[in-house]
């Protein structure tokens, strides 16, 4: 850790007159887990879509591993994304979903073995030939993860990946995602509305409001040294959340 993986400089984006992102700048370190928190409509998804190349910014630079990637098509940016509602290919089996992109990129023998490995890794070996609709929400989420990992991205973006799941499944998936991150050495940018989740999983948290970054810091610092009134309100509002997660931390530590 410590190496600069991604640098975003003065990114601005507007839809018509709606200034969704205003001069956003931040950096992400290699292997870091960065969460993005913020009220609905503050531009979280838009930011990720710009990083991925699905949307273009009016101005600003995106530098990954020292190279400006703003002009590259999405697939060449070395980033993967897990979308809201997973966006699985409903007509394909679990195996089909995971190996599809690999096959399309050539080398179908390799594709099969890579896909099987990944599916094994996310614990779905028993469901290879099932269709997404025959899976539970958590299982579908795992397929989406495996599909994203298949093309071997070094940064993974997740947009509210667990919003549709029940609490138990979420808790289980949390540690799985963290384990996968460790194993693949990926850098993760993670959008969530669940502050407790953000506090529990992240190295750093970025709080956005009205297209501006209010503060980007470790969960600890966010609580101890709020940068402004907005963050203070935000944190006090979640005092309960903080206590809960602290308790959980200490439990996990044991």
């Amino acid at each position: 850790m410590g190496k600069n993986k991604l640098t975003v400089e003065k990114l601005s984006k507007q839809f018509g007159t709606n200034e969704v992102l205003q001069n956003i700048s931040f950096t992400v370190e290699e292997g870091e887990f960065l969460s993005i928190l913020g009220p609905s409509g503050c531009g979280k998804t838009t930011l990720l879509r710009i990083l991925l190349g699905l949307e273009t910014a009016e101005s600003g630079r995106i530098i990954k591993d020292g190279i400006d990637i703003a002009g590259l098509p999405p697939a060449q940016r070395g980033m993967g994304m897990v979308f809201q509602n997973y966006a699985l290919f409903e007509n394909m089996t679990v195996l089909g979903n995971v190996e599809y992109a690999l096959k399309k990129r050539g080398g179908s023998k390799k594709a099969r073995s890579t896909a099987l490995e990944l599916i094994e890794r996310v614990g779905l070996s028993g469901h290879l030939s099932k269709k997404p609709r025959q899976l539970s929400g958590g299982q579908q989420q795992r397929v989406a993860l495996a599909r994203t990992l298949a093309v071997n991205p070094d940064i993974i973006l997740l947009d509210e990946p667990m919003s549709a799941l029940d609490v138990e499944t979420r808790l289980a998936l949390r540690s799985e995602i963290l384990d996968l991150q460790k194993e693949f050495g990926s850098t993760i940018i993670y959008i969530t509305h669940d502050q407790e989740e953000a506090f529990a999983m992240s190295d750093r948290i970025m709080v956005m409001h009205e297209g501006v970054i209010q503060q980007i810091d470790s969960p600890h610092k966010l609580m101890d040294q709020p940068a402004n009134d907005y963050i203070r309100a935000f944190v006090i509002h979640n005092i309960q959340v903080k206590i809960d997660s602290l308790i959980r931390y200490s439990r996990e530590a044991k």
């Binding site: 991925l52 098509p73 994304m81 809201q84 966006a87 409903e90």
Partner: protein, 534 residues
């Protein structure tokens, strides 16, 4: 971005296509309207009387048709009777023959000297209000039946199970679960049926008697008096219900995806209900089969009713007059219309449902216009616009006019299907390095298969039946089979007309059968939730 440039180009091309095939011809026709005293027409006595007649007869027919359809779809979906597939097929038979034939069927059965009238010594006359109602219910109720069956089939049973557990009475369950669930689809069904009936002139022309409706007035102005302008004005008036339906639809569109967790209903034993279901379904099947049996009888006797000896005269006469060749034309027209129609509506719907932007909205609107253009107006505007052009007088113009005439419904079917698929599929493709075309071919098309087949059937069946728009565009070398019905009618050869109706029915039944087979196979193989898990 480059790709969005390409998308814009495709949308532009599509818009040009619609401009040439819909807007410009229509403008040519409407140019004739400038000479009409529109105000004077709209407040004239005959117009208002016809308007009132149209509204009343359409409202009554719509209510009856939708009531019947609700009852039957509920009985089929929520009872344990056997032969459900057969009944469902029978109920949709009337959709497969031209509406004018329904009028004919009524006359043959219930006219003053009709078969049924004769057997039962009935008094009274089929001509007039109730004649129109009977004929209209006949051909429109299948549409409502199909719409409502679909809705009921996918209703989630869990709220009912919960209610049962809580001991809530059946009547309360209906008021608090069923009624709210059915309100929206019921409204759409009512609107769809209303629109269908109010623009039809086939039935009122045959059995309307002195009860004159707006489409008949339009028909008589355009055809009887060559007053295209006045006819178009009435045509525009007839367009209103479709427009209202469209606006309501746009306002209420909820983009919520269907919940896939819907639990299928487990129907309990209930002798009384099942008995009722058998009786009702049987009666309606009989009502549907009677006219068809009458056509069969008419076809196979020498001269109804004076000479009832069996003979093949009518059939051979129809073939002597070109039924064979015309059947060939019809098949070519229907097949090419269906193939191009499915491809075009998929392309347009893909653009409007899955790529955002202003052009998409315009394209969506233009695609729906065709829903509201009466066939006569469309046909004549094609004559005005395309005369002298390369395609005029060829099969191509018949295909084009059918494509446009029947575009809106299949377009909406596929639009809804595509809008329901996860909106991020293409983005997923992009991040995985898979092109849009590949995603369409490997992910979207396979999921739209059932809808595509349904669209194909819709184009095909309607192209086989249509009369109004093609009447002005067909020539001896391209005449479709359906036009023989009107020319036989004009020459009082009812027997031959009945035979042609049967011929069309047979072809359409085959196509429809193939579709049903395809869909049931697909359903079994692909989308059913894991049976073992239920």
């Amino acid at each position: 971005m480059k790709t969005s440039g390409k998308l814009t180009a495709v949308k532009g091309l599509l818009l040009i296509f619609f401009a040439v095939s819909v807007l410009l011809p229509l403008l040519r026709m409407l140019a004739r309207m400038t000479t009409v005293d529109i105000r004077g027409l709209l407040v004239s006595g005959p117009f208002l009387a016809a308007l009132k007649n149209s509204l009343v007869v359409t409202a009554v027919s719509t209510l009856i048709a939708v009531f019947l359809a609700t009852l039957l779809s509920w009985l089929l979906e929520r009872s344990r009777i056997r032969f459900k597939g057969l009944f469902a097929l029978l109920f949709t038979l009337p959709m497969l023959i031209p509406s004018i034939s329904h009028g004919m069927g009524l006359v043959v059965l219930f006219g003053a000297n009709g078969l049924v009238t004769g057997w039962f010594g009935l008094k009274g006359s089929i001509y007039g209000f109730w004649g129109i109602v009977a004929g209209s219910v006949m051909y429109s109720f299948p549409v409502a039946f199909l719409m409502l069956s679909d809705i009921l089939r996918y209703e989630d049973s869990s709220p009912y199970e919960a209610a049962d557990v809580m001991g809530i009475s059946r009547r309360h369950q209906f008021a608090s679960i069923t009624a709210p669930f059915l309100r929206r689809p019921m409204l759409s069904t009512l609107f769809a049926v209303f629109t269908l009936i109010i623009i039809d002139y086939g039935v009122p022309l045959m059995v309307g008697g002195q009860y004159k409706t707006l489409p008949v007035m339009m028909y008589q102005d355009v055809i009887g008096l060559l007053d295209f302008g006045k006819g178009s004005v009435i045509g525009l008036v007839l367009l209103t219900p479709a427009l209202v339906a469209f606006i309501l639809d746009v306002l209420n569109r909820d983009k919520l995806t269907l919940s896939f967790v819907a639990r299928p209903f487990r129907v309990r034993k209930n002798r009384l209900r099942d008995g009722l279901a058998y009786v009702t379904s049987g009666l309606v099947s009989l009502a549907v089969l009677l006219p068809i049996a009458a056509f069969l009888l008419l076809t196979l006797v020498k001269k109804y009713p004076s000479d009832m000896r069996l003979s093949m005269d009518n059939i051979s006469r129809a073939f002597n007059m070109g039924a064979g060749a015309n059947l060939g034309h019809s098949l070519v027209i229907a097949l090419v219309t269906s193939l191009t129609g499915v491809a075009l509506s998929f392309l347009v719907a893909y653009m409007t449902a899955r790529t955002p932007g202003k052009l998409s909205k315009i394209l969506h609107l233009v695609s729906l216009i065709s829903l509201a253009i009466p066939g006569i107006v469309l046909g004549l505007s094609y004559v005005l616009f395309f005369k002298g052009s390369l395609i005029y007088g060829s099969l191509a113009i018949l295909i084009l006019v059918n494509l446009v005439h029947f575009f809106a419904s299949p377009y909406l079917m596929i639009y809804n299907t595509l809008a329901k698929l996860n909106e991020h599929l293409e983005a997923v493709g992009q991040t995985l390095g898979v092109s849009r075309i590949s995603i369409i071919r490997d992910v979207i098309l396979p999921q739209a298969g059932g809808t595509l087949a349904e669209m194909f059937t819709y184009f095909f069946v309607n192209s086989m039946m249509t009369i109004s728009a093609v009447a002005f565009l067909a020539t001896a070398g391209t005449r479709p089979l359906s036009l023989m019905i009107t020319s036989f009618e004009a020459q009082m050869l009812l027997e031959c007309a009945a035979f042609i109706a049967l011929l069309i029915l047979t072809v359409n039944l085959l196509v429809k059968g193939l579709f049903t087979y395809y869909r049931s196979r697909k359903e079994r193989s692909a989308y059913e939730p894991d049976q073992a898990a239920v």
